[in-house]
């Protein structure tokens, strides 16, 4: 059931085509695991909490640094040197007290038991090694995952459905290294917000997710392109 306060809080959702009270209840009963509380995880978690996702697990082992504040908009100067997961939890509870927020101040590799109980994973990480580990957990536990990555003015996004779409390892090799730490806050905001959109569509059953397609966002020229992908024959993770 939705309370009268919830009906008012989410009233603008009910104006969206196909989004009725049952959709909102689905969100309320959902659990999303957000891997990474950085530039992507910040906007994604804020929008999911605000939208009424019932349980959000946010995992990050790092503490807030001054150089994070150009993009990680959950944090303020008062959070410097504090745990990202704990600081994010405090802010997210302020945005929506009815969402249960579970902070995990640990490495993704040490959080597998918490991942396996979730309905959806958001890959908001910042390195390919951890991303591929998360991808293997998604595949093993058959939990869909929304992947996004950003660099400078560029971003990429795809929705992975284990057993159905290409997995991350179908198009990213184990030895891939990030070449740059360049990033604009707004770019991370766009990609993280798109992850939230994909999550909301999937959890409510509205719209069409980016399954089997890689969206490339070029904010240098403000152009978007989508490419269809197929599973890699012999993929070490999903074949």
């Amino acid at each position: 059931m939705l309370s009268s306060e919830e009906l008012e809080r989410y009233s603008r959702h009910f104006l969206i085509d196909g989004w009725d009270r049952s959709c909102q209840l689905k969100l309320k009963n959902s659990c999303v695991f957000i891997a990474g509380a950085g530039g992507l995880g910040n906007p994604a978690s804020m929008y999911l909490a605000a939208a009424g996702v019932g349980k959000i697990i946010i995992c990050d082992m790092d503490s807030v640094e001054l150089s994070n504040l150009n993009r990680q908009i959950l944090y303020t100067m008062n959070d410097i040197n504090l745990s990202k997961a704990e600081s994010a939890c405090t802010r997210l509870k302020g945005i929506n007290p009815s969402s249960e927020i579970i902070p995990l101040n640990k490495k993704i590799e040490d959080a597998v038991d918490m991942i396996s109980g979730s309905d959806l994973i958001l890959d908001c990480l910042d390195n390919f090694t951890s991303r591929l580990f998360l991808n293997s957990v998604s595949h093993t536990n058959r939990i869909p995952m929304v992947h996004a990555g950003v660099s400078g003015y560029y971003g990429q996004l795809t929705f992975i459905i284990p057993g159905s779409t290409p997995c991350l390892n179908c198009f990213i090799s184990e030895n891939t290294q990030a070449s740059s730490q360049a990033i604009t806050g707004a770019m991370a905001g766009i990609a993280g917000s798109m992850q939230a959109i994909e999550a909301l569509k999937f959890l409510t059953g509205t719209g069409e997710v980016l399954a089997g397609k890689l969206l490339f966002i070029d904010c240098m020229t403000m152009s978007f392109s989508t490419m269809k992908m197929t599973k890699k024959p012999g993929c070490k993770t999903c074949s």
Binding site: G36, G39, L125, V150, Y154, I172, M229, T230
Partner: protein, 74 residues
């Protein structure tokens, strides 16, 4: 033989977005990267006709190749 090559993000700088490239029969992705003066570590994601390709993958007439740099920040 000819193949269509689409470059993304920083790989476009000083090169092109989309171009039809003339290649010697039997050319591989490595050959193409050398021709375009792209270091292998800068070509993180490569697709031939929507399927992930390796550096050693052979290119065929009319293949559609897409090359992305590593975009893994977050």
């Amino acid at each position: 033989m000819k193949a269509t090559v689409k470059l993304f993000a920083s790989l476009r700088t000083g090169r092109f977005d989309l171009s039809e490239i003339e290649l010697v029969n039997g050319s591989s992705i490595t050959d193409l990267l050398e021709l375009l003066q792209i270091e292998q570590k800068e070509a993180a994601i490569i697709f031939i006709n929507g399927v992930h390709a390796e550096y050693t993958s052979n290119i065929k007439e009319c293949d559609q190749i897409a090359i992305f740099p590593p975009i893994g920040g977050g």
